[in-house]
């Protein structure tokens, strides 16, 4: 893209205070000037795409390599596909992704049960460690959870 003012180098004082040693991103960046060639750099071979990959709409094409784990599927996949219609700038991208993650947890439980695997919640949550090293804390959390559950139940029952 051409600069709006093509004569910008003749603007009085242009570039005279530039100090390479004051590069704000130093020492992270070894300045090469290649940024101005944008995405026209040498690229690796393209990885073959054999599963559905959701891609940021801020890119012109898929990256040369990418992860292939867990392609979108089910209801969570539908929500993720919607999210990727919007840029990384938008809440409409990130909030649906968080929602999809929560839906995906339920889908995971359903898949477990459908495959006759009952998840061991105590083991998966590592509660043996809490029991071993923080027994009082664990009992306190359990008591608070039980109290909250009973209180909610009582409240709902009274409303009926």
């Amino acid at each position: 893209m051409k600069p709006l003012n093509e004569d910008y180098k003749n603007i009085p004082g242009w570039g005279m205070d530039a100090d390479p040693e004051n590069e704000p991103t130093y020492p992270m960046k070894n300045y090469t000037g290649d940024d101005h060639s944008r995405i026209n750099y040498e690229q690796s071979e393209q990885q073959a795409q054999e599963v559905e990959i959701l891609m940021s709409n801020e890119r012109p094409a898929i990256t040369r390599v990418f992860g292939t784990t867990i392609p979108p599927s089910g209801l969570s996949g539908m929500i993720r596909r919607y999210a990727f219609q919007h840029s990384e700038d938008r809440y409409r991208h990130w909030i649906p992704l968080l929602l999809a993650d929560r839906v995906n947890v339920v889908e995971g439980l359903v898949a477990d049960i459908a495959s006759l695997h009952i998840p061991n919640m105590i083991k998966e949550r590592g509660l043996a460690m809490e029991w071993k090293y923080n027994r009082a804390g664990l009992l306190k959390k359990a008591a608070v959870a039980a109290f909250t559950g009973i209180a909610l139940y009582a409240l709902l029952k009274r409303k009926k």
């Binding site: 992270m28 898929i62 784990t69 700038d89 949550r125």
Partner: protein, 379 residues
């Protein structure tokens, strides 16, 4: 093969999973020998990072032995023992060529703001991680580095993330001789940042946290001053006072999105998820640094945004520096620091857990039980 498997917030297990395959001519398959749980893995474990899919395998800090290589891999051979930087980098794009290996443009199609990271959600590329017996490593000629024969394997695994991230946190601080540096967060990264800050010649290094055992560890390991913010009425006022009412020269945020210490930040960021976690440490860093000072951020924040005191950044003329660590760029210098005995990364390791007990390991680290600083999983 055995692999860690995410099932939802605070739930993980191990499963038997198909072996990874070469999917690109520059790929390698690595047999994992050690894999750590990173503090940033806890953000995934707690369900804070968008697009963390059920069934994912986490793990971006690992070492291993090269099991198989793709046809275009030239620098590695089968049998090499390697440490694998957490960032996946092509080595060819403009960002890689400028040393910004954490910002590669050819490793993550799902987001442009971050390059690919092993086992760190689909927001970071959807790659499986190294908390498994085997892992696919793309661009194998770029990231993986052969472990020097004389290096302790425990030191090597911490060179994949903890040491470079801690070092870069200090490096980005632009620390000058005689400076006062304040590090927020006494987790493994914060402790390493405090230790590495000394390489740049400050006269004081102060670390702030709220977990006493970690502060005690940091004081001994990083030879720094350590303070518990729960013992203070206001950590910002404390830091002003201890710097002659001037402010620190450099403040480093090593906490990220799960900070404690500010009710509004905690409620809006961690409970309601109305912002990308609680930016308490960042807020304290901005408000504790001197006018014209530097704030360096390596703490992990999720998208899309946080409540941050931008007005104070402007009014104080603060320089803000932040990035994912560029592991590959820093490795030669850091390997030298380790081999010469100036740095002792393995001193951070407090727990070793078999991969099969990964759920216990996550809980141990997440709940800070048994004085845990750093956990290594052994496949």
């Amino acid at each position: 093969m055995l692999a860690m498997n995410y099932r939802g917030p605070y739930r993980v297990r191990t499963i038997d999973k198909p072996m990874p395959e070469i999917l690109h001519p520059e790929d390698a398959i690595i047999r994992v020998t050690r894999s750590c749980i990173c503090g940033s893995d806890l953000h995934l474990y707690h369900g804070m990072v968008p697009d963390t899919r059920v069934g994912s395998t986490f793990g971006h800090e690992f070492t291993g032995i090269v099991e198989e290589i793709g046809p275009l891999v030239q620098k590695l051979k089968v049998g090499d023992q390697v440490l694998v930087p957490f960032n996946i980098a092509c080595g060819k794009c403009n960002f890689c060529k400028q040393g910004l290996f954490g910002n590669c443009h050819e490793s993550n199609p799902m987001a442009t703001a971050v390059g690919g990271i092993f086992g760190y959600s689909h927001t970071a590329g959807g790659f499986d991680g190294g908390q498994a017996e085997y892992v696919r490593v793309p661009y194998a000629d770029v990231g993986p580095t052969v472990i020097p024969a004389e290096m302790d394997p425990d030191d090597a695994v911490l060179l994949t993330d903890v040491v470079p991230t801690g070092y870069q946190a200090a490096e980005m601080g632009g620390i000058k001789e005689g400076d006062t540096v304040v590090v927020f967060g006494a987790g493994p990264i914060g402790i390493m940042a405090a230790r590495c800050a000394w390489f740049f010649g400050p006269s004081r290094v102060i670390i702030i946290d709220h977990i006493d055992y970690r502060l005690e560890f940091a004081k001994n390991y990083a030879k720094c001053e350590a303070y518990n913010f729960k013992d203070m009425e206001d950590p910002v006022v404390f830091l002003k006072k201890t710097t002659d009412w001037y402010g620190a020269d450099v403040c480093i945020d090593c906490v990220g999105c799960e900070a404690e210490g500010n009710t509004l930040q905690t409620f809006s960021g961690r409970v309601m998820l109305m912002q990308a976690g609680a930016a308490t440490a960042f807020q304290w860093a901005v408000n504790s640094v001197k006018k014209g000072g530097i704030v360096s951020v390596v703490g992990v924040y999720g998208p899309p945004f946080n409540l941050a005191p931008i007005g104070n950044i402007v009014n104080k003329g603060i320089t803000l520096r932040a990035n994912q660590a560029s592991v590959k760029r820093l490795l030669p210098k850091l390997i030298d620091h380790v081999l010469s005995g100036r740095l002792d990364p393995k001193g951070l390791i407090t727990h070793r857990v078999p991969l099969a007990e990964v759920a216990d390991a996550y809980r141990l680290f997440s709940s800070k039980l048994d004085n845990c600083i750093k956990t290594v999983l052994i496949p």
